[in-house]
Amino acid sequence: MAKTYKEWMQPLRELEEGIANLESLAAGESGDKAAEIAETIRRFRQRRDNYIETLFSRLGPWERVLLARAEQRPYTLDYVSRIFSEFLELAGDRAAADDHAIVGGPALFQGRPVIALGHQKGRNLTERTDRNYAMAKPEGYRKAIRLFRMAERFRMPVLTFVDTPAADPGVESESRGISEAIASSMLEMVRLTVPVVSVVIGEGGSGGALGIAVANRVLMLEHSIYSVIPPEGCAAILWRAPEKGPQAAAALQLTAQTALELGVVEQVIPEPFGGAHRDYDEAAAGVRDAIALHLSQLDAMSPESLKADRYDKFRRLGSFSHQDLAAVSVTS
């Protein structure tokens, strides 16, 4: 069986627990004894940092998948609350339902009106059920379309946060047109004449992710992933063995670095030491600065060129050539 996040993190958790024990021990001591414990804590922390450094210097494809999916990672609303002021969540697709797997609304970014939206995961069973594991249904994408149109009407930049394993594949979603909803959401983004920046913060899962990520600039957090299919699904189709996810993850090369090299994303945003989940504030600051940078560049463009820029970005993507010509990749 493929390694789980818990198994993978076991040594680190033990170190962290040791440090925590020592810290509570130190609280009851003074003098030499206290100094001694402090020194031990210092050494343990050093060891922990060394361990993290080693761990992250040789992350395998599967560990990257585990990390991107970790429930300790900051989710969309963790970023939204740190990056924006006056965020007001709006709800409903004006057709059938409200989807809690996608949240969004107007907000101020550094004092300026924007539309912020993204997939939202849950941290406990109740939340996860309510959010449907961030697997959006048609009503989620139709709510996004409403927000995109609002952004266009009121000339607000659109900032999206991508974090979903996939769109919901159930019978209800199918009968309400999940495919149509994703496609229409993409088409609506294509039409926008305001700046659009998308950030893949965790799991960029196939069409469900792309449905809200047709942006002028697509950014990825260092340890996020972006994939045409979940590795387990890929393994199920290729080898009829969903448990071969790790092999599929290696083959799919679903890392931020590969996406950057293929021209799919414009920037990889570095994460705090040991991953975004170790410091939400620092992670959010990194995302905020990246958004500010790209927005300032996009602000120089006219409405028409923002739309043209987005078309050109996706128009270029692909890897092919004419059979009888020298093989030259179209991307990068």
């Binding site: 009968s175 495919s179 496609a183 199920a236 189709i237 996406a259 692909g318 092919f320």
Partner: protein, 272 residues
């Protein structure tokens, strides 16, 4: 069919009702079973022959080939085998043609080439066909037949969804109709991109039409599905399809749509 297409066997077996059919009649009906009405899959060339005016199809971008950007395990040999088997370079064939005399831009996906999967080449070709329609101000007609994105090209395959959808906007801006025809199967990455935002969506009867492949859906715990889940008929009931059209009626139906929705393109912008 048991008999290979193009072979000289006198009989074929229907995949729907298992009856034995005369090969000549079977081919004359463009591979629709005269007994049960089962619509067998067509190669891109059979589709072109069944739909457009004789000898009017003019292929373009026929030499595009994929680069295997991830050096994905087993992709290169599979790709070569598919080329050898079909005689095509990739799953989608594009060009221009005439339909009851009307000029149209055409893309045809062929399920026989790696399940009609959409990688860089298929995405580029669908995009080129839609852009050609917009530029030449002629209707676009796209026949879908695909299991979805070609996962062997990884994230670049996913991006073809955005790229082809963006090209639909070009047609909309130009005011040229884009008509999609769903054939068996029209799934996943193709259904969830350009195919679903066509102005008009026709489908052949009983085509498989759906978002998640059966294996993926099963993994996600999909249950209590109606008997015809992910069929054209289910999609029609769900408001996703305009008309289910038997193969023999596709040609006049498409022509009517070109004359009405695309009528202005033919006569110049006389009104409005």
């Amino acid at each position: 069919m048991k008999a290979e297409s193009g072979s000289s066997a006198m009989f074929v077996q229907c995949q729907g009702c298992r009856k034995t059919l005369f090969a000549t009649e079977f081919l004359a009906s463009h591979k629709v079973c005269g007994t049960c009405g089962h619509h067998h899959r067509l190669t891109w060339r059979e589709r072109v022959d069944a739909t457009f005016d004789a000898d009017t199809f003019c292929e373009s971008a026929s030499t595009l080939v994929s680069h295997d950007p991830l050096n994905f395990p087993e992709y290169a040999p599979k790709y070569g085998q598919a080329q050898a088997k079909t005689g095509s370079m990739d799953s989608v064939t594009i060009g221009t043609a005439r339909l009851e005399g009307l000029p149209v831009s055409v893309a045809v996906s062929d399920f026989h080439f790696m399940g009609g999967s959409m990688g860089s080449v298929a995405g580029e070709k669908v995009t080129l066909a839609l852009e050609e329609a917009a530029n030449a101000r002629i209707p676009a007609i796209v026949f879908c037949a695909s299991g979805g994105a070609r996962m062997q090209e990884g994230i670049l395959s996913l991006m073809q969804m955005a790229k082809t959808t963006a090209a639909v906007e070009r047609c909309q801006e130009a005011g040229v109709p884009f008509i999609a025809v769903f054939t068996d199967p029209t799934m996943a990455g193709v259904l969830a991109s350009y195919a679903s935002v066509a102005d008009v969506i026709l489908s052949e009867p009983r085509a498989l039409v759906g978002f998640a492949g059966q294996r993926v859906a099963k993994q996600a715990g999909v249950h209590k599905a109606p008997k015809d889940f992910q069929s054209a008929e289910f999609a029609m009931r769900s408001g996703m399809i305009d008309r289910i059209v038997p193969r023999k009626d596709l040609r006049p139906t498409l022509a009517t749509l070109c004359r009405t929705l695309g009528g202005r393109l033919l006569h110049g912008a006389a009104h409005g």
